[in-house]
């Protein structure tokens, strides 16, 4: 491991990147380093550690936005927002324990760079829907800004979208303007017991199609429901389909009744109080079921909800796996049971062109040798390479993190 730069200002970062360009020295860009296991291993001798760029610079609750430096801890952001009854509506997950790093260390910049969103994504959108503007230093060593501090803005390209999910391959973030929203006053979760994968994913997807404003929709098969720390879920003795309702208490009560009526023929039901509900969705969000044991590859698969159970069934004919469903079935979390089997072909074949799969947890050697992200068709691959080069023509920033040669 070579040198680590720890800049504390934007102009320091400009200097570092320009130096890297001049020396043709690629650099590994990190915040808290909790997501280094995501993506392909970066081959770079030097590290650009942005952790000194931390802190909330501006927070205006009535304007529904905040400006923070990228290495600000998410936990700090969430505490600050909670004090004003607000939240990051995309419900950023904490994959620390899943990836073998400590919990609650993740940064805002990391969530944005990896475009990570939790269960509320089905209702409120992804991380990318909440980034209003950004200041960055590109791989050309130039400080530029995109977007702004207001929600409605079509002034120039929406480059913020490109930044989200670019895994630090385009630019180094120096300041982020994010949208914040009121947090619900309360929440509860309606559980439906005993459905198989096909019926469970159908039930949670259909619940999203009712006017009951469901803000989380997950299906946990029996073998994973029993691992929950929430007793009602763990002791269900079978699968549990979970529907979160939040908002003002009178409205929640009304919607619970409506949903119960709609789903009364499906199976036994139970209701979680607010604390249990929060605990359950934290587990769903953070993929706690696969954090321990820490072996076995973990995949994150995005497909249309009505294809999800079929995709999992096909994978299971070839590889021993466990899987559960979030995002009304649109997100599959899947873990291979054997430590040395990562299931690449089985997963890719089952998904086909119905969606995409990302290898979230695997040994560095596996992530180096196999595509971590969905392989792209030639025209899109060529476009991806040109976009990368438009920001970072010398491939200085996190080269190869997403795709070989990008």
């Amino acid at each position: 491991m070579g040198a680590t730069f720890e800049p504390s200002t934007e102009s320091d970062i400009v200097d570092v990147v320009q130096w890297c360009i001049a020396e043709e020295a690629p650099i590994d860009v990190i915040g808290a380093g909790t997501k280094r296991g995501l993506g392909r291993p970066v081959r770079a001798e030097r590290t650009l550690d942005t952790s000194r760029l931390a802190g909330v610079e501006r927070y205006e609750p009535e304007e529904l936005f905040m400006t923070a430096k990228p290495a600000t801890r998410l936990a700090e952001v969430e505490d600050l927002l909670a004090a004003k009854g607000q939240q990051l509506a995309f419900e950023p997950p904490d994959y620390g324990p899943l990836l073998g790093t400590p919990a609650a260390e993740g940064t805002l910049g990391g969530a944005i760079a990896c475009n990570l969103s939790g269960p509320r994504r089905v209702k409120a959108g992804a991380a990318r829907d909440h980034l209003l503007g950004a200041n960055v230093v590109t791989g050309r060593g130039e400080a530029v800004k995109f977007g702004g501090i207001v929600v409605k803005n079509v002034t120039g390209y929406d480059v913020c979208k490109l930044l989200c999910g670019s895994f630090g391959t385009l630019a180094v973030m120096t300041a982020l303007h994010v949208k914040v929203l009121p947090a619900p006053e309360s929440e509860t979760t309606l559980l439906v017991m005993g459905l198989d994968d096909m019926a469970g994913t159908a039930a949670i997807a259909d619940a999203m199609g009712t006017p009951n404003d469901v803000s989380g929709a997950a299906h946990l098969p029996a073998e994973l429901a029993c691992l929950s720390a929430v007793e009602t879920v763990a002791r269900a003795g079978g699968s549990v389909s979970c529907l979160r309702l939040d908002g003002i208490p009178q409205s929640i009560a009304y919607r619970v009744e409506r949903l119960r009526q709609e789903m009364r023929t499906l199976g036994d039901m139970a209701l979680l109080d607010a604390d249990d509900s929060r605990a359950l969705w934290r587990e769903v969000r953070d993929v706690s079921a696969f954090a321990r044991p820490s072996d076995g590859a973990v995949w994150r698969i995005c497909v249309p909800p009505d294809a999800a159970a079929d995709v999992v069934a096909r994978i299971k004919t070839r590889v021993r796996t466990q899987a559960y469903y979030d995002w009304a079935g649109g997100l599959i979390w899947l873990r291979t049971e054997a430590a040395d089997v990562f299931g690449g072909d089985a997963v890719r074949d089952a998904v086909g062109d119905r969606g995409h799969a990302t290898l979230i947890r695997a040994d560095a050697a596996v992530r180096d040798a196999t595509p971590v992200f969905q392989p792209q068709p030639p025209a899109l691959k060529a476009l991806t390479e040109r976009i990368k080069s438009s920001f970072d023509p010398r491939h200085i920033l996190n080269p190869g993190r997403m795709y070989a040669g990008v």
Binding site: G148, Y157, D158, A205, S390
Partner: protein, 495 residues
Amino acid sequence: MKMPEPDVAILGKRADIIDALRGIVPGEGVISSDEELRAYESDGLSAYRQVPLVVALPSTTNEVSRILRYCHEHGIKVVPRGAGTGLSGGAMPIADAVLLGLGKFNRILDVNYRNRTARVQPGVTNLAISTAVRDDGFYYAPDPSSQIACTIGGNVAENSGGVHCLKYGLTTNNILGLEVVLINGDVVRVGGEYLDTDGYDVLGLMTGSEGLLGVITEVTVRILRAPETAAAVLVGFPTNEDAGRCVAAVIGAGIIPAGMEMMDRPAIHAADDFVHAGYPRDVEALLIVELDGPPVEVSLLIERVHAIAEAHNAVSTRISDSEEERLRFWSGRKAAFPAVGRISPDYYVMDGTIPRKELAHVLGRMREMSEEYGLQVANVFHAGDGNLHPLILYDANVPGELERAEAFGGAILKLCVDVGGVLSGEHGIGLEKRDLMDVQFTETDLNQQQRIKCAFDADSLLNPGKVFPRLHRCAEMGRMHIHRGQVPFPDLPRF
């Protein structure tokens, strides 16, 4: 507004180009007669006009791909166009460019209620999507005022909003997938019937890119279940300051209404005279706040909003007690533009966004500027998200008034940027605000945006002359100054 000089060589090859296009698009899909071309000479920004070189109206992705490949090979510019309702001149033709109309892409291909998606062609109107799924209780959320006529392809190109985007988001938050044809004829699909695209978010980048990056040939939208009920409260205030503070207080109380719209006195009077919406006339500002959801939630929140309004000096409040009354509250707001059209020979619609707290200050400055420029202004305002639509009244037949209206508009937008806002909230930069981009961005900012353009369209053939104040050659943009040996520190950890 200056456009690049037409390429004489291209103009000279017009007949060949028409022949080639006829070889790709059969029958009446190529329009070349002067008379018929006139119909395409402007979009919704009718102050600017230009007859296109030729119009092509393909009906398949394959035809679009072949047209673009032909134009790419021959260095011919292309301007994509949906319904031509845009207000910033984004679809204004260029003298030496093929105008590519997507109007024949008018089919809804697939609706999937379990996945809550609809796959549609770009020429389908915004309203047609909601209409197609209405009987099953669903709708498509973004609702720009032009929704009867504007197309979903145009909505994607402009990232259109509407009065409900405060709660339900803009186009970019409500689409899941695109099929895009690049200028070299390559067809790429980004996203689909699932959440989160993989790789770089080209779906997000394409949205709001104003026809400069590619031609959209299919859109997958997210559809939503319609809320059970909706109600609106109409509140009159003695000052704009009171109304502005009320808006902030509603949001500060943790309420995100389905819509929160404001009108100033001139707009209130024009609208009420036109549609007799029953607006209070002796107030300086009018707020329409709409809540939707389950009945119990709506009535509770309406009461909370009502109480907040009373605490902010509201002089008149009315809560809709029926669906008809709710729609009547909206009728004046929705007819505000034509209503202003009745009291002035011409009007110029502006579209800046400001932080909400600057509202009173900006409206106050606008009144002063109105006197400086000698032109009246009426304001309608998406108050919930800070998006202003000042309507500048002028008469194009009075020499100099159009120029004065444009200068006034430019001054308003600069004011928006000065207070922390942006040049355009939902209408796009297009041709109209192209030369103001320097107010918001540095040369370095704009150069990076243009390099993204180069990644899609290295010869700058797609909709050139729009959005960016200066055209640069991509080779020149790509150059990098390398400071080998000059960077002020050695290979050591620093800072």
